[in-house]
């Protein structure tokens, strides 16, 4: 059975006066129906651009230069814009970190949602309104009829994000891309949204790609995780496997930066140094300048080494010797 989404060798480059930035470099992963895939990385890792590339929202000077994006078996990587527009909102939806990127501040919620419904289907306004009302109910917004007539500024941050998710759900898309949607929210509100989203993925069978820098959120929410660094996926696999037995030194460093794994008051192992500038990436493995295990061979591009099915890493000196 073809997965909902399969990305193969995706590369997105930005051309500027200062040079070519390989924001996404040979990225491959797959998400099945009803699964949650976490795309984890720090700033500059290319995780957001990967999301934008999948949904076709990369603007010049950026361009998808290589690879395939198989959505339900069909390659959408170089689809013309009119075709993409049919998919966007209907079959693939995106939720952004700032809900005001989805919501128009001068329009009422019902106006926006009805518009979103009617953009893809010819239904009466009344039917579209009913659908919108149900979607708001799905994401746990109380008194949806009243809320429909409100403006975005009358909602709190958490509510707005729920509305944005509701809009994403209007057409029951098969795939939702979420780019740091809860990063700016309080812990209790984040928990509410994660609970809703989890339920939805389970009940509706939506495939979810959750882009974030927060490993703890991925630990709780996702089934699989792909860790990105300098545009490449350096490790991927099931959440348990990657978090309990990381293979790539960067993954281990990232886990070591989170306080909960280190005894109180002790220095956090972390990762020395800084992310290199995207214009000036080290040749070969981009992480080698910060890695204690780097040797001469690391100056060549590490290919993807498969470990078990669904597990892979890009390291010449992985942390645990992989059984043959």
């Amino acid at each position: 059975m073809t997965g909902t989404l399969e990305v193969r060798g995706l590369s997105t480059h930005f051309t500027s006066r200062a040079g070519v930035v390989r924001a996404v470099d040979d990225v491959s992963f797959a998400v099945q129906r009803g699964e949650v895939m976490g795309l984890v990385g720090e700033s500059g890792s290319g995780k957001s651009v990967t999301g934008f590339s999948i949904i076709g929202l990369v603007d010049p000077p950026g361009r998808v230069v290589a690879g395939q994006i198989l959505f339900q078996g069909r390659d959408i990587a170089r689809l013309p814009e009119p075709e993409l527009r049919k998919l966007r909102g209907r079959h693939i939806a995106m939720v952004f970190q700032d809900p005001m990127m989805t919501l128009n501040p001068v329009l009422r919620i019902d106006t926006q949602m009805i518009e979103a419904v009617q953009a893809h289907e010819t239904v009466s306004t009344a039917a579209a309104r009913a659908r919108s009302r149900n979607a708001l109910g799905l994401v746990g917004i109380p008194s949806p009829d009243e809320r429909l007539r409100a403006y975005p500024h009358q909602f709190s941050g958490g509510m707005r994000q729920r509305v944005a998710i509701a809009i994403a759900l209007l057409h029951r898309p098969e795939l939702i891309l979420a780019d740091e949607p809860t990063t700016a929210l309080d812990v209790t509100i984040q928990a509410q949204i994660l609970a809703e989203v989890q339920g939805l993925a389970r009940d509706l069978g939506t495939a979810l790609v959750w882009i974030t820098h927060d490993l703890s959120v991925i630990a709780g929410l996702a089934d699989h995780v792909a860790v990105m660094y300098a545009g490449r996926i350096v490790e991927k696999g099931s959440v348990d496997a990657v978090l309990d037995h990381p293979l790539h030194p960067y993954t281990a460093g990232l886990i070591g930066s989170v306080p909960s794994r280190t005894p109180r008051g002790e220095r956090l192992p972390g990762i020395p140094g800084m992310t290199p500038s995207v214009l000036n990436l080290p040749v070969g493995c981009a992480f080698r300048t910060r890695c204690a295990r780097a040797t001469a061979v690391c100056e060549t591009d590490p290919p993807e080494f498969p470990a078990e099915p669904g597990r892979a890493h890009r390291c010449f000196h992985p942390l645990v010797a992989v059984p043959a």
């Binding site: 709190s156 812990v187 609970a195 490993l215 959120v217 709780g220 008051g265 956090l268 972390g270």
Partner: protein, 338 residues
């Protein structure tokens, strides 16, 4: 015979901070007319901080935790001397800061420094790093010996290469800027640092580096910290004691292990239950219902009662007092007082 406890380094007694929307003359006129006609309008007041008592002993790290609207940032600014309290007293080494003469007040202000959240807004973009770090110690005549050597020493202590003193902030990354901010604070020789979400805007790996720096500095310079954060994991790692705030009030405070092992207040319990943890896999997120109320219209009685699973009649009427329920462990909940 036991020696008497030294005065806490910083103490807040009954400190409140109210923000009122400043009324222009037309609004004031309208209010006066309405008042005269018998339909007075209540001015809109936000009680950002509501009668908080807090004491930080020398050498301690106190973690201050809460979500939006809880008042932790405002509290931090009152401790650092940037915002005067509306009520109550701020005491530095036992003395009320407001009653000090200008020279002593300035000394007290210099001793308590702040590290800010936004590495992009907390440095003056027009000044070179050397000036950012060295201006205050030069103006206050704290530098003995050559200026450049002093500035270089501060930068090195914060983990920066002194070769970059001539550069401007925009040429540095977020983590480096935060280090510049730390160097600037250390340059005036403080003994107390207020860290207001100092690592929230940083990448995870850089966050770990800065946290390590804070811990190292604590040991090397015998610093005391008030560490404000919404990130419970970070607070747990760094702090000796944790204070939890909700909508302007302290709801619980206890030594770190105690809070995390035996949270008493329902809000603390919910907060701890809902925090994602790297070891909690594919969990069912269960969330407490409801939104954080607006600080303009906080619920009467216990601010948390609309969202509390254990609320009863008294909670909506009477404000719970912060009572000691175990040694060093205080909680403001009527459930402890039945």
């Amino acid at each position: 015979m036991t020696t008497p406890m030294p005065a806490p380094m910083i103490e807040l007694r009954g400190v409140s901070k109210r923000f009122e929307k400043a009324a222009d003359s037309a609004t004031r006129l309208v209010r006066r007319v309405r008042g005269a006609l018998g339909a007075p309008v209540q001015p809109q007041i936000v009680r950002a901080v509501d009668r908080v008592d807090l004491a930080v002993a020398r050498g301690e790290v106190v973690g201050l935790v809460g979500e939006s609207g809880c008042g932790k940032s405002t509290l931090g600014r009152m401790v650092a001397g940037i915002a005067p309290p509306s009520d109550g007293q701020v005491l530095y080494q036992g003395q009320d800061v407001a009653t000090l003469d200008p020279a002593a007040a300035r000394q007290a202000k210099l001793r308590v420094q702040m590290i800010f959240q936004d590495p992009y807004a907390s440095l003056n973009p027009r000044l070179r790093v050397s000036e950012i770090v060295g201006e205050a110690p030069r103006v206050h005549r704290l530098i003995q010996g050559p200026y450049d050597a002093y500035v270089d020493a501060q930068l090195r202590r914060a983990g920066l290469d002194p070769a970059y003193t001539r550069r401007y902030p925009h040429q540095f990354s977020g983590g480096q800027r935060q280090r510049i901010g730390i160097a600037r604070a250390l340059a005036v020789q403080p003994d107390f640092l207020v860290c207001d979400e100092a690592v929230a805007a940083l990448d995870v790996s850089i966050q770990a580096q800065i946290l390590n720096l804070f811990m190292d500095l604590r040991r090397e310079l015998d610093l005391t910290y008030l560490f404000i954060s919404h990130d419970l994991g970070v607070v747990e790692h760094l702090s000796d004691r944790v204070v939890i705030m909700y909508l302007g009030r302290v709801v619980e405070q206890a030594p770190t292990e105690e809070v995390f092992a035996r949270p008493n207040h329902p809000y603390t319990q919910a907060l701890l239950a809902e925090v994602p943890r790297i070891d909690a896999r594919r969990r069912r997120f269960t969330a407490i219902k409801g939104e954080i109320p607006s600080p303009l219209a906080p619920p009467p009685g216990c601010h948390f009662h609309p969202r509390c699973p254990h609320a009863f009649a008294r909670c909506s009427v009477e404000v719970p007092a912060l009572l000691e329920i175990a040694p060093g462990h205080r909680s403001a909940c009527h459930l402890n007082d039945r």
